[in-house]
């Protein structure tokens, strides 16, 4: 079973990897002697700032999405700030530091890597969420637009993080996609409430993960400027 899941992930990685690579190429400006065009290079600090801005925006919009969804579709008794036990976040399995002390212990590289993992693992589910929300009867346009916007911004965030990794760590990481297979495989039409709850959980999890990304990146920034006083 374990081997099968790994195989699945590998297939997904191979399948999706080229896309990400091709997508991320434009940010990867290399001064090829042979290339006709020269990309304007951007400094690392600026790049990091921009990435942080992206993450902040994404978090803010996801927060709005979540509260909007909650207002529209979730009956009051079921409104919970946190996830219900039954529906775990898809990124639960990711090895992401979960406390400040833990974060203080991990390296920059790993921080970035964590961010990348998070970003990449949410691209798919957001697309799925978009599709799901279209099926809703009374989903307002704002909800749909915000979801669309977030998924787009997430993609660009990923690009930025990749470029950042390249710049900071001077490594080309093979980006592996951590996707939750359960999400995609669930084609069974659940009950309405269940599906609503599921979406709600999805949004909540996404909101949390967006906050994680933002925090990591900010900590990373601190580390860049003041290494010894940061978390």
């Amino acid at each position: 079973v374990y081997a099968a899941s790994v195989l699945q992930w590998g297939v997904w990685a191979l399948f999706l990897c080229p896309c990400h690579l091709t997508v991320s190429t434009p940010l990867d400006c290399r001064d090829d002697p042979g290339s006709l065009t020269r990309c304007p290079s951007i400094s690392q600090e600026k790049l990091l700032d921009r990435v942080i801005h992206h993450a902040e925006l994404i978090y803010r919009v996801s927060e709005e999405l979540c509260s909007l969804f909650e207002e529209l579709f979730i009956p009051f008794p079921l409104r919970l700030q946190s996830n219900q036990a039954g529906y775990a976040c898809i990124t639960k399995a990711l090895p992401i530091p979960s406390s400040k002390s833990e974060i203080q212990e991990i390296s920059d590289k790993w921080l970035l890597q964590s961010v990348l993992m998070l970003v990449q693992s949410w691209i798919e589910p957001l697309v799925y969420l978009q599709m799901t929300l279209d099926n809703y009867d009374h989903a307002p346009d704002m909800l749909l637009n915000k979801t669309k916007w977030v998924s787009e911004k997430l993609i660009s965030l990923e690009q930025g993080v990749v470029a950042l990794i390249k710049k900071m760590l001077d490594e080309e990481l093979l980006t592996t996609v951590y996707s939750e297979p359960s999400v995609l495989q669930n084609d069974v039409q659940p009950e309405v409430l269940e599906s609503v709850m599921k979406d709600y959980t999805l949004l909540s999890c996404f909101k949390k993960d967006a906050h994680k990304m933002e925090t990591f990146l900010k900590l990373l920034k601190c580390r860049q400027t003041d290494k010894y006083n940061c978390a």
Partner: protein
């Protein structure tokens, strides 16, 4: 026996001990977790509310379970946060992980579990209020502004970016109730500009993470805005501008109505309305000239003898032809060649020569003439013209004149319309126009001799037109040919003292006295300035030229036409009469040259050529002694 008693006692003891407790034992009440808070996203604390204790000492325990594991942990620290609290320190705090927390109340009877609470530390962050709130007043071009600055709460690690805080401040005047709130974003200072001068303000700041709760408001920071002037000054400036504006409007309004205001405030002083008094003369400084016109009146008496004064009177002699004869007074120096306006100018002090001696109404004339005249028989007046008179129209230009040479030459002569026109141009119709052409000898007396009032009444006909205002007319003699010897005489009657008329036999009612010996002012010449030079003619008829014409020197007044023209009967003057006796008693009447302007506007008879003067005025001035006049038709 002993066993049964022991059992009873034992049961009794048990029963009592049970009851001795007082209350029934029960399970403890259900505790409730009230809230959990994290001040900096690194630690957190949970508080609970205990329920009833069930009568037994109850202990509380908090157990939590993290999201991903099933391990149950107990609260590591019950003390730090106080009673009924659990404090999770850094090591025990995980972010982005759900905690499932339960509180258990336990007593001897049992345990009661509270409802579980799921929390994520990230979402329960409530920071401490910001610290070190300072308010600095700074001046920017004499306007104060306030800069409020603060520090984040000490525990919150905003520097590393672990937690991002958003701030908000509020400000109010001391004593007010309403706060003015300003969101400040992530910055740690804020500027406030609209401040009241001299006011004391309170400032408070609070913060919250982008995913948590608002902190409490910081302690109030007081600051006082120093007084600054502009606030007061601006009001005064506005007031001043407004008042200046109103002032300008008032000035403009006054200026627009200055004329009427002047009349209201400073009513114009009525000027002298003395007939024959020329204001311009006075202004020009020739007071003698100015007063000379008044000299004809009885005041001031001049160098004449008193006797002369007494002698003067005006006589209106009305012959049977129902003409008016005018006798001249003695004194001639008054230069009474002023043409009088025919109006009864009561304020002019003039004699009634002009006003009433010559009546407008024909009927009246006849009546009055009939009254008075007849004393001397028919005197014929008419000397409307001389045969030698040139047919041309001449305008008699007369004025106060110095006695001069008999040569009279004058450029133009203005006709007396009423006299001449019936003679020359056309006939007025109703009146009997004398045939004699233009010029009529006329003399007119200054009616200043007569106070208007006494004479006015008898003579004022009802239909009297007071057209002749106190105006003077210009008369210029036409060419007088010396050869012909015709002269035009202006006889002026001077009656100095009306009051003395009676002395002379003037009727008491001041009717025009019968003709007595009269003195004439004869026109000696008309000099180049168109002035008539008069000389006094001796009243002694015997002295003078024979046939002094006093019998014939009157023209009968036919009447005054509608246009206030005096219509005089023309009288043919014989040649002899034309001969003028040598001048005697050339006397300077003391008249000064003066020109009299006539008002043409008022009188224009139909037969008056526009340029000419109304005859009336001259006639009105006195007597019309046509015998004296030669028509200046040379």
């Amino acid at each position: 026996m002993k066993k049964a008693e022991g059992v009873i006692i034992l049961w009794w003891l048990l029963f009592f001990t049970l009851h001795a407790e007082g209350t029934s034992y029960s399970l403890p009440g259900k505790p409730t977790l009230t809230n959990c808070r994290s001040p900096e996203k690194e630690t957190f604390t949970c508080w609970w509310e205990p329920g009833s204790d069930g009568g037994l000492p109850t202990t509380y325990h908090l157990y939590y379970r993290k999201e991903s594991s099933d391990a149950v942990h107990e609260c590591p620290d019950y003390r730090t946060a106080g009673k009924n609290s659990c404090f999770f320190n850094k090591n025990d705090t995980s972010i982005w992980i759900n905690y499932n927390i339960t509180v258990v109340a336990t007593n001897a009877r049992g345990s009661t579990f509270s409802d579980p609470v799921e929390i994520d530390v990230v979402y329960i962050v409530k920071p401490n209020p910001p610290e070190k709130v300072t308010a600095n007043v700074s001046w920017n071009k004499s306007w104060p502004s306030l800069r409020v600055s603060w520090d984040p709460p000490q525990k919150a690690d905003t520097r590393s970016g672990w937690i991002t805080l958003i701030y908000e401040l509020r400000i109010k005047l001391e004593g007010e109730d309403k706060w003015e709130e300003h969101p400040a974003g992530q910055q740690k200072m804020y500027n406030i500009y609209s401040l009241q001068s001299g006011g004391t303000y309170l400032v408070q700041v609070r913060c919250r993470p982008d995913h948590g709760f608002w902190s409490e408001w910081s302690d109030s920071t007081y600051f006082k805005v120093p007084d600054y002037f502009p606030q007061e000054r601006s009001i005064w400036i506005i007031i001043m501008i407004f008042s200046v504006f109103i002032f300008l409007i008032l000035i403009w309004a006054i200026h627009m109505n200055s004329h009427t205001l002047k009349h209201h405030i400073l009513p114009p002083v009525p000027g002298p309305k003395i007939k024959g008094f020329d204001k311009q003369l006075l202004k020009s400084g020739k007071s003698r000239d100015a007063f000379s016109s008044l000299v004809g009146s009885d005041f001031p008496p001049t160098t004449t003898n008193y006797e002369d004064l007494l002698v003067e009177y005006l006589e209106v002699y009305i012959p049977e032809e129902q003409g008016l004869m005018l006798e001249e007074g003695k004194d001639l120096h008054d230069g009474s060649l002023k043409s009088k306006s025919y109006t009864s100018d009561s304020d002019s002090g003039r004699g009634s020569c002009d006003s009433h001696a010559l009546l407008v109404d024909k009927s009246e004339e006849e009546k009055e003439v009939g009254q008075k005249s007849n004393q001397q028989g028919g005197r014929t007046e008419m000397d409307l013209k001389r045969p030698e008179e040139s047919p041309e129209e001449n305008i008699l230009n007369y004025s106060h004149a110095n006695v001069g040479s008999p040569d009279v030459s004058c450029e133009k002569v203005k006709t007396w319309p009423s006299l001449f026109s019936p003679l020359t141009e056309n006939s007025s119709g109703p009146l009997d126009q004398p045939d004699s052409p233009e010029m009529a000898k006329q003399h007119c007396l200054s009616d200043s001799l007569f106070p208007p009032s006494p004479l006015s009444s008898p003579f004022a006909p009802p239909g009297h037109k007071e057209v002749l205002g106190s105006n003077y007319q210009e008369y210029s003699f036409g060419n007088l040919h010396p050869q012909t010897g015709s002269h035009q005489y202006l006889r002026a009657h001077g009656n100095m003292n009306v009051a003395n008329i009676g002395h002379k036999g003037v009727p008491a009612d001041l009717q025009l006295p019968p003709v007595r010996s009269t003195e004439y002012v004869e026109v000696q010449k008309v000099n180049n300035e168109n002035m008539v030079l008069l000389y006094r003619v001796s009243s002694d008829v015997e002295k003078g030229c024979p046939g002094r014409r006093h019998t014939e020197e009157y023209s009968r007044l036919k009447g005054v036409n509608n246009d206030n023209g005096l219509l005089l009967l023309q009288r043919m003057v014989s040649e002899e009469e034309m001969n003028i006796c040598p001048y005697e008693d050339q006397e300077s009447s003391g008249l000064t040259d003066s020109g009299y302007t006539t008002s043409t506007a008022q009188k224009s008879t139909a037969y008056i050529p526009p340029a000419t003067q109304v005859l009336d005025e001259r006639v009105a001035g006195g007597y019309v002694d046509t015998s004296m006049f030669t028509l200046p038709i040379y």
